[in-house]
């Protein structure tokens, strides 16, 4: 674990050494908060439902941008050979980079702090429900980062990694939307592909339950075990794809 933290620290340093990270954080914060505030004043309810409704789509686009460089850059500059000939397992490096990306996720979600403060100032919001929504967003975001990390390990090109991860993330989010489920089910009614993807694959139903203040063990297991499997797969791929 301590070596993972050393990797995480280096990775965080590299991330925040670049203006890209600050642009990402600012862009995410402005977009998420603006979309929320617009709907907040229209609905006139003292909750963050509107924020958590738009969040999955934003995470599906912004997190691949955060994870795309994790391994693609190491592979491109061949520093992966330096890193993985140090006396650590691949999993240690994978975990370290994942921890660093989680820290960035934490910062992205922290941009919603003014919204929470605003709710508290305006009245008496259900803070347990708000907290549940953020826990879900963090776990779901971690899952998408693990997925993005795997996509980054598959290529030396950050743009390819970004596109792969964005497509995969959007798939996991959009297959949870009613209109998409309807279209997919309509294409092959006997197979019920849309319903199957909604119930078994999509991350959206889990995120919605967290946002509604009803987190389930299945959602926690989905995100935690899913992230673990993706991190393991990343380590295996890095072990197997050496030249």
């Amino acid at each position: 674990m301590s070596r993972s933290l050393v990797v995480a620290r280096r990775e965080l340093g590299a991330t925040f050494d670049s203006a890209v990270a600050y642009v990402q954080i600012a862009g995410f914060g402005v977009l998420a908060n603006a979309l929320f505030v617009n709907e907040f004043f229209l609905a006139g309810r003292l909750d963050l439902d509107a924020y958590f409704r738009v969040l999955p789509l934003l995470l599906a686009v912004f997190l691949p941008a955060a994870s795309m460089r994790l391994w693609a850059e190491e592979r491109k500059h061949r520093t992966v050979e330096f890193l993985l000939t140090l006396p650590i397992r691949s999993g240690t490096a994978v975990l370290g980079k994942f921890l660093a990306s989680l820290a960035l996720l934490g910062v992205l979600l922290a941009t919603a702090l003014p919204l929470v403060v605003m709710l508290v100032v305006l009245g008496d919001p259900d803070l347990a429900r708000v907290a549940s929504g953020f826990v879900g967003a963090f776990l779901g975001g971690a899952f998408l980062l693990a997925l993005g990390g795997l996509c980054s390990a598959l290529t030396r090109d950050q743009v390819v990694a970004f596109v792969l991860a964005t497509v995969a993330s959007l798939f996991l989010v959009l297959t949870g939307r009613e209109e998409v489920v309807g279209v997919l089910d309509g294409l092959a009614p006997d197979l019920g592909v849309g319903t199957f993807l909604l119930e078994r694959v999509s991350i959206l139903p889990h995120l919605e339950r967290f946002a509604a203040g009803r987190p389930g063990l299945d959602g926690v297991l989905y995100f935690v075990l899913g992230s673990a499997v993706l991190l393991w797969a990343t380590g295996r791929f890095l072990d197997d794809d050496r030249d």
Partner: protein, 246 residues
């Protein structure tokens, strides 16, 4: 210290190295000589546990590279040919990172960092970022990172690439200082360099070891044959011998 027995590496159908056997004892500097693409880097990568052998065994300090790669990496210092460095880090932070990843505690890291900076003459660039350093300095940064944990076996892949003649001469002296108790294997395609630094030379051609001989013995052989050392070595790589000379 470094024992390679029957090492073979295939990439698909391509045979990169075939049935390679050699040993580097503690205190010995062995030069690994061969034309580009001969398989030098492949062998060094396998010893460094970056790639796995298709067949054969490689042991470093008694540890097998496949069964105990972490144990091998703990005692090994490895400078790859392309010298991968984290460009955005400053030199000190990069070396500290290498030391921490090698498990050095704070006191030991400070001691080793001090030694590496002095040994590799990095005082002037310690606060600079890696990408701001010249090629010669970058090579020395890579070397310092590979020595930060005081390794017992050292692999250097084309270590003098990018160094000016003064730096090359300093590097030769530095390797002689390092040799005590350590097994050093370094690759080059420059005979003069190997001749000046090494006790022994391994000549590789088309993935096969074509000669394993002491430099002094090769000089004698060249003299007896009425030729130069360079021409003698060239004769090894121009033909494709079927026998390995130990």
């Amino acid at each position: 210290m470094i024992d390679v027995t029957g090492f073979t590496k295939k990439y698909g159908k391509d045979l990169a190295v075939q049935d390679f056997t050699a040993r580097v004892a503690p205190g010995e500097i062995v030069g690994f000589l061969g034309p580009n693409g001969a398989g030098k880097s492949t062998l060094l990568k396998a010893i460094a546990t970056w790639i796995t052998p298709t067949s054969g065994t490689i042991r470093v300090d008694g540890n097998d590279v496949v069964d105990a790669p972490l144990a091998v990496r703990r005692v090994l210092g490895y400078l790859p040919e392309h010298n991968p460095l984290y460009e955005g880090m400053n030199v000190r932070a990069f070396l500290e990172f290498a030391g921490r990843m090698r498990g050095l505690d704070r006191a030991r890291l400070a001691e080793r960092l001090d030694w590496c900076v002095r040994a590799c003459s990095l005082e002037d660039v310690l606060r600079k970022r890696v990408h701001q350093c010249s090629k010669g300095f970058r090579q020395r940064i890579g070397l310092a990172a590979s020595l930060i944990h005081d390794p017992r076996a050292i692999l250097l892949d084309e270590p003098t690439h990018g160094l000016d003649p003064v730096q090359v001469a300093a590097f030769r002296d530095f390797l002689q200082e390092l040799r005590e108790g350590r097994s050093i294997l370094f690759s080059s395609h420059v005979l003069a360099e190997v001749e000046a630094i090494c006790d022994r030379v391994l000549v590789i051609h088309r993935g096969r070891l074509v000669r394993d001989a002491r430099i002094a013995d090769l000089r004698d052989e060249a003299r007896d044959a009425g030729t130069t050392l360079e021409k003698l070595v060239l004769s090894f790589v121009r033909s494709t011998p079927h026998e390995v000379t130990a």
